[in-house]
Point group: C2
Chain length 218, copies 2
């Protein structure tokens, strides 16, 4: 079980979702849901892009195709719930998270494929961890949806990690140090104050400033 | 039933697949299968791109998401069969078909959305018509797969056509003339000699030259 403030609860992640982010999520339900729907679409889109980028790799294509289908089914579920809750979709500027991870990805092969797969594993692992942390605190019916998605997403980070290890084995390199690098960068994106609230953002900057203020005065 | 040489058998199309193309397909099974797998991936990718382009339109997103999932399942089926048949995937330069249709698409909204949906309807309608024409002539197990896909794809062109009519109603325009324009252009791409063999190509240029040669001498 991964609880807020319990770092390392997810096998891949080295920081749990901060309690301040969960508190912010309770107060920003609409943005959470709209951005979550976007994340499901983007996850499907990323999987498809990898199918085109590594078109000769049939195992990768098969696993990415199944993953993309599952992400799209999740998108349909969250969009249906959003409609039931009267949440109107709108365009949101992207947060820093995906861009922050993408910045670590090598440009040249074979390192690029390994990095893309590691980045995918972290995004899926974080989604999984957030679903589990959100489920008990966000209230029904969102909590019920997130609890269901948590189980599905728990498989996805393993798909990416398997593909990363397979690509690394083919290239004859070890990926443990690279995974640790991504883990540190990912943890920073999740724990450092973030000016924007999103599904994968850090704790809100304002709350953090307030927390620092109160720590200062105590 | 749509048979080669029976123009207008499909409700949307104004030319049936030429017999010369079907003959070429029988002799180019590997390219047919590799390109068909590509087409399924591209169909999913196009549907996803439309979900991003018209992100506020929840009905469109829901229908495109379901369609993309179905295309991906078809991709998995054809990839599995390709593997069983020992067909090794390789990159193929794109044919002229999709590009030829895309050239008709308006750049400005609301015409662009209508055109994109009409183009999607024609691509799906042609796939459907080709599956039906190929099934009895390509031999098992491909014929069996194509017969199955034909039924699924028969729904897809209607999804696009519904969305085109809905976008047109919203814009207060009629689309019958526009559909007729696309139908003429699509028929030309399918019936005029094509230097490249692909799932959506025209009859092969060489065969056509031979046919013209024999017509000349008769």
């Amino acid at each position: 079980m991964s609880a807020a403030g319990e770092p390392g609860a997810h096998p891949l992640l080295c920081a749990a979702t901060p309690a301040a982010w969960l508190e912010a999520a309770r107060g920003a339900r609409d943005i959470l849901v709209i951005d979550h729907a976007n994340c499901e679409k983007k996850a499907a889109s990323t999987a498809l892009a990898l199918m085109f980028a590594y078109a000769e790799d049939l195992e990768l294509a098969d696993r990415m195709s199944r993953l993309a289908r599952e992400e799209l089914r999740h998108y349909e579920q969250v969009a249906k719930l959003a409609r039931a809750l009267g949440i109107v979709p709108r365009r949101l500027a992207p947060g820093r998270y995906a861009c922050g991870l993408r910045r670590l990805v090598a440009h040249a092969e074979p390192a690029r494929e390994i990095d893309l797969m590691i980045a995918g594993a972290f995004i899926e692992a974080r989604s999984c961890e957030r679903f589990e942390a959100l489920a008990p605190v966000i209230g029904a019916p969102l909590g019920k949806l997130f609890a269901g998605l948590h189980k599905a997403e728990a498989r996805h980070f393993k798909v990416y990690l398997d593909l990363a290890r397979r690509a690394a084995a083919r290239a004859g390199v070890s990926i443990e140090a690279r995974i640790a690098q991504f883990a540190r960068a990912e943890a920073a994106l999740i724990t450092e104050p973030d000016p924007v609230f999103r599904f994968h953002s850090g704790p809100p900057q304002a709350c953090d400033a307030a927390a620092r203020g109160s720590a200062h005065s105590s």
